[in-house]
Amino acid sequence: MKMAAPPIEPVTSGTKVKSRMLNPEQKAIARQLISHVILISLLALVLVPYVMVISASLRKGNFAPNGLLPDKVSLEHWKFVLGIPYQEIANVATGETREVKAETPPLLWFLNSIKISAIASVGIILLSGTAAYAFARLQFKFKSGVLGGLLILQMFPMVLALVAIYAFLDFAGQYVRWLGLNTQSALIVVYLGGISGYIWMIKGYFDTIPASMEESARIDGASQFQTFIRILLPMSLPIFAVVFILSFISHMSEYPVASIVLQTRTNWTLAVGANSFLAEHEKLWGRFAALAVLSGVPITAMFLLCQRFIVGGLTSGGVKE
């Protein structure tokens, strides 16, 4: 692509010429040097906040993150987040200590989030995968209209439908326990509604797989469902991986719906719990930082490991359609 800059003689005259009389190799080195300077300075802006959070999680006291290294190292926030009891000085004058233990260990919120996001993502794959198959391979009335409608309807901000979702769960909970307010199952079911983007993405992938293999299987006597399960699905595993990861990550971050549906602390998700540390007047930055590092690291690692898949999925899903 961007090859070394052109090796041509500058046409300008005078003293300037001398300074620009670099040979191609020197030019390439200069270009690289400039690139590295730009990249490293920008990278510092990206990385410093994360370093500060790690340091805040290890510092004594609940201060907003503002230093690269903690001045007084303490594991109290980590112990709190993991639900391990620790001693805290209750009275500075006498040096009296008291034991502090989280009533609901914040670790639980992280586990709740993983559970909810994982189940919702599997459900979303099942629902959007089958629907995408119909859109990609089968003929039915109003197909393109429905497909476009899906995308437009999903543009409705879910936050503003909360009144309706709340009313629905409040009503449904009277008859079906697990659809009621303050249940994690209800939250999962609500998340299952957001499939249209994924339908588009999977359909886009199905479209790139030639139908000829399935057709020949049909001739050999396979049913339609068999061709779907045995032939198309195994070839589409990469896109399902992408959908799973994207859906998982977006649901790990989902705040508004979870904050309305889940009411008791033991039911909370990571997003609701993390914000609760900062929503009160007394902001518990240290505890928040420990929770953020604890939960952020595994998710980030997972994302980076699957980076190649995700980037492929994004560019094909977002652009090629």
């Binding site: 119909a134 503003l160 249209s196």
Partner: protein, 497 residues
């Protein structure tokens, strides 16, 4: 079949319409999975049930609410509001008085014990009922039934006398409860020490008006106001939801308290979305171009590190940056003060807050643009750069005359959807500034987007107004839906070419 059982229960509890819908849905499902002609729909049905329940239904419901008067003042349905009047009672002139005791049961419920003060052989015990401390009652509850207690028999559980009841903060909740004797007499807490029999305050007339038994006033429901009113037109009691046609929409356009902030917030929303797209695209593009140099060392490492803000869950990043931009203790101001000796007011100054939001959103959003741009750059054949090199170009010319014109057209759908996404970027604003600082003399915040402004109208502020919020939500949906439609047109046309 659980579905049939559910239908039956729903029907029994008076929700015939919902029962019918559940039944129809079940039949449709059965038909689709049993009939050989409905093959295609077998694949679509499960997805569409979820989509219908949690996307289409909420939209329809929201649009419906936008045509009603539904707020904290007009909260209950008409039936519930009327039931409150029907359940209102007063102490009758010749009321009997009862001593009482409350018994805590092992499962946390309570049993009330009553003893007639004149005739100690008349004793009653209630069925177990729940009392929640501090919880506000959600409207009228069914009266608790009392049964006669035979002599010599005692109520099980731990007894609570008046002082203990007061200390446990159960007196308030107990006062809101009503109890009925086997002979249908209603009893309620009259003072600290006794229960007294009560009479219903309102009698219903055939024409729907209610008559007060004590002073004889007559009230009638006013469907326009959503309140019961007396002869003088004064509101009495609690309000109820009622149909209001286009009143909410008219308020957005004409009420100066709404219209003023609405226009300002709309402009800021548009500016925020456009600037966010512009900034993230510029930085993302710059990084993509720099990282696309084949001879650059550590390319892979750089790429991975630059993706970080996209890989870390957004909610954590937003909250982390909120801490860094803390006006008094945050790292950003500590640094700026150390170097330049000035500390911007990121939280209290509207422009400072807006700048912070744009910076944070740039930080969060550039990796996505970088990823997409990288994909685009890699699809440009390298030969054209070689050709332009022969013509004597340089990096800047290459970028502005070759790269950008090639990348921009296919990027337009991405940019439009990024615009639409930011238009409704609830998490960012809600968690970062909460819409603050407050507008002077308005009910919105200086950094509110339409979506957070609406959320606050619906859920946060003292006067929650679901009807008005739904009307704004509907308008927002039309706007963003239009954007999505344009985008769809655009991509569809491109696909055909």
């Amino acid at each position: 079949m659980p579905a049939l059982y559910l239908t039956f229960v729903l029907y029994q509890s008076g929700n015939a319409l919902v029962a019918l819908l559940v039944l129809l849905g079940t039949c449709l499902g059965l038909f689709i999975y049993l009939s050989p002609t409905a093959l295609t729909y077998r694949y679509l049905f499960p997805g569409f049930v979820g989509f219908g329940l949690f996307v289409i239904f909420p939209i329809l419901y929201t649009v419906y609410i936008s045509f009603t008067k539904y707020s904290s003042e007009n909260l209950l349905s008409f039936d519930r509001a009327a039931a409150i009047f029907r359940n209102e009672t007063f102490v009758s002139a010749n009321a009997a008085s009862y001593k009482y005791r409350l018994y805590v049961q092992d499962d946390g419920t309570y049993v009330l014990y009553l003893e007639d003060q004149k005739d100690p052989t008349k004793r009653f015990a209630s069925e177990p009922f729940e009392l929640s401390v501090g919880a506000k009652s959600k409207g009228p509850t069914e009266p608790v039934k009392l049964g006669a207690l035979p002599g010599g028999e005692e109520v099980k559980g731990k007894p609570l006398e008046t002082p203990q009841i007061v200390r446990a903060k159960l007196l308030g909740p107990l006062r809101e409860r009503q109890f009925v004797l086997p002979d249908e007499t209603i009893l309620g807490l009259a003072d600290l020490l006794s229960f007294k029999s009560r009479e219903r305050l309102w009698t219903q007339n055939p024409d729907g008006t209610l008559k007060n038994k004590k002073d004889g006033t007559v009230i009638r429901p006013d469907l326009k106001q959503g309140f019961f009113v007396n002869d003088k037109g004064e509101r009495v009691g609690v309000g109820f939801r009622t149909f209001s046609a286009f009143e909410n929409y008219a308020r957005i356009l004409t009420d100066p308290r709404i219209q003023g902030p609405f226009i300002r917030i709309f402009l800021w929303t548009v500016a925020f979305s456009a600037l966010s797209v512009l900034l993230t695209f510029s930085v993302g593009m710059l990084l993509a171009v720099i990282l696309e140099q084949k001879d650059l060392r550590f390319r892979a490492t750089y790429r991975t590190l630059f993706i970080l803000p996209y890989a870390v869950p957004g909610i954590l990043s937003i909250l982390i940056l909120k801490g860094l931009f803390n006006q008094e203790f945050g790292a950003v101001n500590a640094l700026l003060k150390g170097i330049f000796g000035f500390a911007p007011e990121w939280e209290t100054n509207p422009w400072g807050a807006r700048a912070m939001i744009l910076l944070v959103n740039l930080w969060l959003g550039y990796p996505y643009m970088m990823l997409i741009c990288t994909g685009m750059l890699q699809s440009i054949p390298g030969a054209i750069y070689e050709a332009s090199a022969i013509d004597g170009s340089n990096i800047v010319v290459d970028f502005s005359e070759l790269t950008l014109p090639l990348v921009l057209p296919p990027m337009i759908p991405v940019l439009i959807s990024a615009f639409a996404f930011n238009f409704n970027n609830f998490n960012l604003i809600f968690l970062l500034t909460g819409g603050g600082p407050q507008m002077v003399g308005g009910n919105g915040g200086e950094t509110d987007l339409l979506v957070t402004y609406t959320f606050n109208i619906a859920f946060r502020d003292s006067g929650t107004n679901y009807g008005l919020a739904s009307a704004i939500a509907t308008l927002l949906f039309i706007l963003v839906g239009f954007l999505a439609w344009v985008n769809l047109r655009f991509t569809a046309r491109k696909a055909k070419i």
